[in-house]
Subunit: 333 residues, 2 copies
């Protein structure tokens, strides 16, 4: 295993400490229990947003803490859900009386631990709502999930719900718009290579030199099937087809298209994939109203990408366009 790490058991702590040192103007890190909050807290009763989950998907979630997106992120060990303790501590820390939305990716551990934390917070009279992101159309159940997995669509949920909170929506309204994004966002991914969890030390699965895994999860969980290495266009079509089938997009509808890198894939390749997705939607008469290309929800150093399509209404587009100022994602300010 070749990684720029010191102690495999200490990767998350050292990385989060480096993150805190690099970005004191954006974030404040609490180490025990560990969560990442905004450096400057508002006292104005804004609804607070929290997300979290296993580490190894950086910049998700800590990179999205800041104006316009999250109020706090709770990183677990690599590919391992955080326990209820830090989730509760983050919830207490960010609540300003207007309540807290938990944005939870649909993995069994995350769902249970966020649920427990929410119950504990409610016992302290903090209002908590939750949404479960389950955008991955690849598989119905998987190694870590009952139902669909939550993957790259999570970023769009955080962006759009974060903007709604920033404009002053109440907890019910912020929760509703988050759920509306979830109901309209679909993703699917591909792996060209596996990744190695530091404390495991060996790749999480084997993939032959001439095959790729279609429908991969963000922890290297099995996807739908393996195919021989193919062209970018052919692989992209295998991601786009199931999404289109599920979303049932029709001509004239607006979308946000997001091509996400898994961590080890060059940006230049993501743009080749983006070009194919854009062509497919254009052929259908679907409007690519906004687009995003980059490695935002990663699986350590895995090579591959995912395609996410959001069926967007005008309000979602406005909120997507709203200013955001986080370490990993900025616009309009």
């Amino acid at each position: 295993m070749k990684k720029l790490i010191n102690d495999p058991q200490n990767v998350v702590l050292e990385s989060v400490r480096g993150f805190a040192l690099a970005h004191p103007e954006h974030v404040a890190v609490h180490e025990d229990p560990m969560f990442v909050a905004r450096a400057e807290k508002k006292e104005d009763g804004k609804v607070a947003l929290i997300s979290g989950g296993g580490s190894g998907h950086e910049p998700l979630h800590a990179g999205f803490v800041g104006y316009g997106m999250l109020d706090a992120a709770v990183p677990g060990a690599v590919f391992t859900s955080p326990t209820p303790d830090p989730i509760l501590a983050a919830t207490q820390d960010v609540d300003r009386g207007a309540g807290v939305l938990h944005i939870v990716k649909n993995y069994t551990g995350d769902v249970l631990n966020f649920e427990t934390a929410a119950e504990l917070a409610e016992a302290e009279d903090i209002k908590v709502t939750s949404v479960i992101v389950n955008d991955d159309v690849a598989v119905e159940d998987s190694l870590y999930t009952a139902g669909r997995r939550g993957v790259a669509g999570t970023m769009l949920v955080e962006k759009i719900a974060g903007a709604a909170a920033e404009r002053g929506d109440d907890l019910e309204a912020v929760t509703a718009i988050a759920q509306r994004v979830i109901d309209n966002v679909r993703s699917m991914g591909v792996a060209l290579s596996a990744c190695t969890v530091p404390h495991a030390g060996t790749p999480s699965f084997d993939l032959a030199e001439d095959e790729v895994e279609i429908g991969i999860g963000i922890h290297g969980e099995p996807g739908r099937h393996r195919i021989p290495m193919a062209t970018a266009d052919e692989i992209t079509d295998q991601l786009v087809d199931p999404i289109l089938k599920d979303l049932n997009l029709t001509s004239g509808e607006k979308t946000v298209v997001f091509v996400n890198g898994m961590g080890g894939t060059p940006l230049s390749e993501l743009y080749i994939v983006y070009g194919r997705v854009a062509k497919r939607l254009k052929d259908l008469g679907v409007d690519v109203t906004r687009s995003l290309v980059g490695s935002y929800i990663t699986s350590l150093e895995m090579q591959g990408c995912s395609v996410t399509i959001l069926r967007a209404d005008d309000e979602m587009i406005d909120l997507y366009d709203a200013p955001v100022n986080t370490v990993a994602y900025r616009k309009g300010m």
Copy 2:
């Protein structure tokens, strides 16, 4: 070779087309000869900045075209200098009478082809100045270079000189500040794995499972030496020591610190490296005034990173902080 590409000969064209499709609000792409310019051109006589070079280092340079940085980028084939033609065409396109600064990384092909383009432009009465970025302290001469190579420090040159042009500095002043950054910026990199140029199809060098190359170039050119795999702290020290020796920083001086990913290294690992660099500078009493962590100047899917340190004066910090709005780097707007 596993890559999300269609035709190895067509990688740059398809990628740049996807980039143009994804970001029409930021860039306009000219295909023949190929260069990437700002979507909206100013007519106000601002000094224009152009950079370019072989592709495979994305988001450098096209990702930095926009307000506050470059006016145009000229991408060559992968790891291959663009010819004078597109450089000349870009120079003609962006000149508004105030002249054009060419920011050139110190590789023999880039230097020659930018020089030829500058002579051709001057024959058309376009004022052109050039600066040569040579921040890599690893080696004096290399496979592609006489003198030091230009690596990640280039981004800081583009950012700071770009801000100077935006505030209205004339060509002489913009060139002078670019040169002042070059005189005070030093970098060194490490590779944990090689990368594969698409049209070559095989890795550009071999690195054993238990060794890393210290002082690697951004095209996989040999560095100083190979060492057995070591901890992040030990490897970081091998990058920081030569930089410190060369820069001769003293207590109380201000710096911008930039930890850059080579393309295949997780962000979490870059933050571990950043933590070590920050500690080393703190121990010396050097002020890390600003910091930047991310994969901005890559070598395709290479695993590894580079450390860049800029000895910064107050004017440089102000220009570094100035608003920028490009596809790959935004702040303050």
